[in-house]
Amino acid sequence: MPDLLTHLASARVPGAFLRDRRVQALLIFGSFLPDVVSKTLYWAAWTPSDFLEPLHSPLGLLLLSYAAALFVEESLRRPAFAALFGGALLHVAVDMLKDNLGSGSSALFYPFSTREYELGWIDPENVVLLIPLDVAVLALMAWLERRLGRVPQ
């Protein structure tokens, strides 16, 4: 899903309650991780889409999040992994809201099943209508952060 603003808004909701700004940054990056990796492989490396199924499956994202967390300093690695994987799962959950005529975009049980799941609530061609809602959520979370005293250090 190319609508990263919606993914940002959805990741900011749990992120607003995190004290550590580094973990918050990792949670948001984790929510972009499935698209950043799959779109980079697709557009830059011309990888056929068949290769990219696991990048929107929990097990594939678990491995990817673990590999990404290893690039973070040792003391922060465990929460980094939790934030990256949590953000990536959030991405999959948001993608599942889309309506792809029942053909889905998230292979939840890959590699045990190639069936893709979706809830079918949002027409992917209509996500432009979500921009005002996303901006409202981002503003609300920024206000909430100030109320909770989680302002940037």
Binding site: P2, D3, L4, L5, L8, R21, R22, A25, I28, F29, F32, V36, T47, P48, S49, D50, F51, L52, E53, P54, L55, S57, L59, G60, L63, L64, Y66, A67, A69, L70, F71, V72, E73, E74, R77, R78, F81, N100, L101, G102, S103, Y110, P111, T114, D123, E125, N126, V127, V128, L129, I131
Partner: protein
């Protein structure tokens, strides 16, 4: 699991397993998302496969319509039909006779689909801002992941 011991092995194993998953996905993916030319060249092989196709409607007939899918005309059997020239998206099952696609469901692309570029640019802007924010909190030190001699 998160310590520095056996760092290279852990990183290598995670990346190798992820790569193996993508490779097996491509191998199994033939049956999930076969390309148009392959389905139409070998309809016997892909008979019964569920396909997702999209494109402009080229012509209409009594039982359905023909769309241009990945530069290939594809006949679609559907109880209702869009107008000629409309952009549609279809999910259905390929039938070897024809070959044709028996639609399970289809829809027109809404007129606002032409504004797709807006959210693509917004997404790129968001990505750039997030990367800038990320670099405010983290510095990349290549020596941390460089392999050292014993």
């Amino acid at each position: 699991m998160f310590r520095n011991s056996f760092y290279g092995w852990k990183l290598g194993a995670a990346l190798a397993l992820a790569a193996a998953m993508t490779a097996t996905s491509a191998w199994r993916g033939e049956s999930i998302h076969p390309p148009a030319w392959r389905c139409l060249a070998e309809p016997e092989r892909w008979h019964g496969a569920e396909l997702r196709a999209s494109g402009p409607v080229l012509s209409l007939d009594r039982d359905g319509f023909v769309i241009l899918w990945q530069q290939v005309p594809l006949r679609v059997l559907a109880p209702s039909a869009p107008a000629k020239g409309e952009e549609v998206e279809i999910v259905g099952v390929l039938e070897r006779d024809g070959p044709c696609l028996r639609a399970r469901d289809w829809r027109r692309f809404p007129p606002r689909a032409r504004y797709r570029w807006i959210w693509e640019w917004v997404s790129l802007l968001v990505l750039a801002l997030i990367l800038v924010n990320f670099l405010r909190h983290f510095a990349f030190r290549p020596e941390a992941v460089r392999l050292k001699g014993r």
